[in-house]
């Protein structure tokens, strides 16, 4: 295949956009925690980014897209450290079917692994050891993310080449299963294994900086154009359709979420708007290439409504999914994946496509939940038994930033006036 500079330009840009999502998430999450733990929250994203990027180059790409092993994962040694993945035999850059150099695709895919790991951190805010988190990131991305990416996108069990394709070809345009269901199910399991924050449900734990949350949501949205638009793998009509669907579904989700709040709580909130943004983005992710802009309005609005209700579940069921990774990513990820069965313009129920697409979407969603939950549980329990997850109660009360990172996020006059010595 010849190099297509236009496709390549768009994929380079898409990779850059998706990379930006992780710091965007750090702000989104960081603004939502209390002022005494914002740095730790942000560090969980930055740490996940650092670990995952290195791991991806070493064995992540190979485990996702290397030689298939049982339909579950790629062989990590096949293209270890990208050997054989960048150049062809003649030393020229390998180019994919869209005219995009393989190395660009590698970068693009790495960013998906990164954001998925980072997403999970919101469920266990304010209370876990940074070292345990860093080890978890490396292990989880290896055992849960890379196999899932292989199964769905790398020609594995949940792909068009897998066993369920006989019903209908499963659709996951940009990562409803691999990213959002995966992260959301992991978040649920982790929240349960790690346990509640001291004071959960009784003490106020309100967002300390809502403009930061809105900024984070904005950067996520911006980055998501790469996430969904780039999943067309070139700059064409599908990328454009994904772009428009992403925008309008997200807009509708904001309206849906705000409407629920206005009717139920009496006020449409800015946190609701920011949350609606994410709910809409998540829901449209798997569907962005197969639904119409008109359909996206409904798909998005329903996502907003569903998630606005779902975030309350944790109080009723009593698990401390601190920043609602389950209520937003798992719920909207499931909805978006299943909604394809209704809204896909070619195969969806509402468009006369029958129930087979719906069935296969439900199956891959269920398999994804189960796979992620089991793998996460094993890793989480193993880490609990070895390194331990929790910081001390005193640290939680005094603030994890200070105890774990020896920093406080914001200077106040008093703090600034009492340093005793500076050493380097």
């Amino acid at each position: 295949m010849e190099l297509d500079t236009g496709a390549t330009a768009w994929m380079l840009m898409s990779a850059s956009l998706v990379l930006l999502m992780t710091p965007g998430l750090a702000l989104f999450y960081g603004g939502m925690v209390r002022g005494k733990s914002v740095l730790n929250m942000m560090m969980m994203s930055f740490g996940a980014l650092a670990v995952t990027a290195v791991v991806y180059v070493l064995w992540g790409w190979s485990m996702s897209y290397g030689a298939d092993v049982g339909g579950i994962l790629g062989n990590p040694f096949d293209q270890f450290a990208l050997s054989g993945a960048i150049y062809d035999g003649a030393g020229e850059f390998l180019v994919d079917d869209y005219g995009v150099p393989a190395i660009v695709g590698i970068g693009f895919q790495a960013t998906f692994a990164i954001i998925t790991v980072a997403l999970i951190s919101g469920a266990i805010a304010d209370r876990v050891k940074f070292g345990t988190w860093m080890v978890f990131a490396a292990v989880w991305v290896t055992l849960a993310y890379f196999p899932m990416a292989h199964m769905v996108w790398g020609g594995g069990l949940l792909s068009g080449d897998g066993p369920f394709a006989s019903i209908a070809a499963p659709i996951d345009f940009a990562g409803g299963t691999v990213v959002h269901i995966n992260a959301g199910a992991a978040a649920l399991v982790l929240a349960l294994v790690v346990g509640k924050r001291k004071g959960f449900g009784t003490e106020p734990m309100r967002p300390h900086n809502l403009p930061l949350v809105m900024l984070g949501a904005a950067l996520l949205w911006f980055g998501w154009f790469g996430f969904n638009g780039g999943s067309a793998f070139t700059a064409d009509g599908f990328a454009g359709l994904a772009w428009v669907n992403t925008t309008v579904a997200t807009a509708a989700a904001v309206l849906g979420w705000l409407l629920v709040e206005k009717l139920r709580d009496g006020s449409a909130t800015s946190l609701g708007a920011a949350s609606g943004v994410v709910a809409g983005l998540v829901a449209i992710t798997p569907a962005a290439g197969s639904v119409s802009p008109f359909g996206s309005i409904f798909l998005g609005a329903i996502a907003g409504v569903l998630c606005a209700f779902a975030v309350g579940l944790k109080y009723r069921l009593g698990f401390d999914d601190s920043l609602d990774v389950v209520g937003v990513h798992l719920v909207a990820g499931l909805w978006g994946t299943v909604a394809i069965g209704f809204f896909a313009t070619e195969t969806g129920l509402f468009y006369g496509g029958g129930v087979s697409q719906l069935a296969v979407q439900a199956i891959i969603a269920a398999v994804a939940v189960a796979f992620s939950a089991v793998v996460t549980y094993v890793i989480a329990v193993a880490l609990k038994a070895t390194m331990g997850w929790r910081v001390s109660e005193e640290t939680e009360v005094a603030g994890i930033d200070l105890a774990v990172h020896s920093e406080t996020a914001y200077e106040t006059i008093q703090q600034g006036s009492v340093a005793k010595e500076i050493r380097a």
Binding site: P204, E261, G266, S267, T269, L271, S275, A308
Partner: protein, 112 residues
């Protein structure tokens, strides 16, 4: 010497300042505070979780005055801070043993 302390509505601060100036008092110390009392607080909602916040923003002012000026100052503060609505706050007077002006080391009324 007396210390007159007032806890008032933040938006009355400017008027209190003018009123004190009119009464010939050219110094005071101000700080932020939160009040809890008859005036009810408010409710905030974050992702459907309702928070009841019963502290209300207030401003605390402290004015050092000579014994004879104290009633005038209390009067000036009360008048300027009064809106007649619940939550207008309190003013109280304490007797002091001594006051020093840091810059000069002057004691007593000379320090005011």
């Amino acid at each position: 010497m007396k210390l007159v302390t007032g806890v008032i509505q933040p938006h009355r601060l400017d008027d209190v300042k003018s009123s004190l100036e009119a009464a010939g008092i050219r110094g005071m110390t101000v700080s932020e505070a939160s009040g809890y009392g008859r005036q009810k607080g408010h409710t905030e909602v974050y992702r459907g979780a309702e928070y009841t916040v019963d502290l209300v923003p207030k401003v605390r002012i402290e004015v050092l005055v000579s014994d004879e000026d104290a009633p005038t100052v209390v009067e000036a503060v009360v008048k300027a801070a009064q809106t007649g609505r619940i939550g207008d706050g309190k003013v109280w007077t304490t007797s002091l043993d001594d006051v020093v002006r840091v810059r000069t080391g002057e004691h007593g009324d000379a320090a005011l």
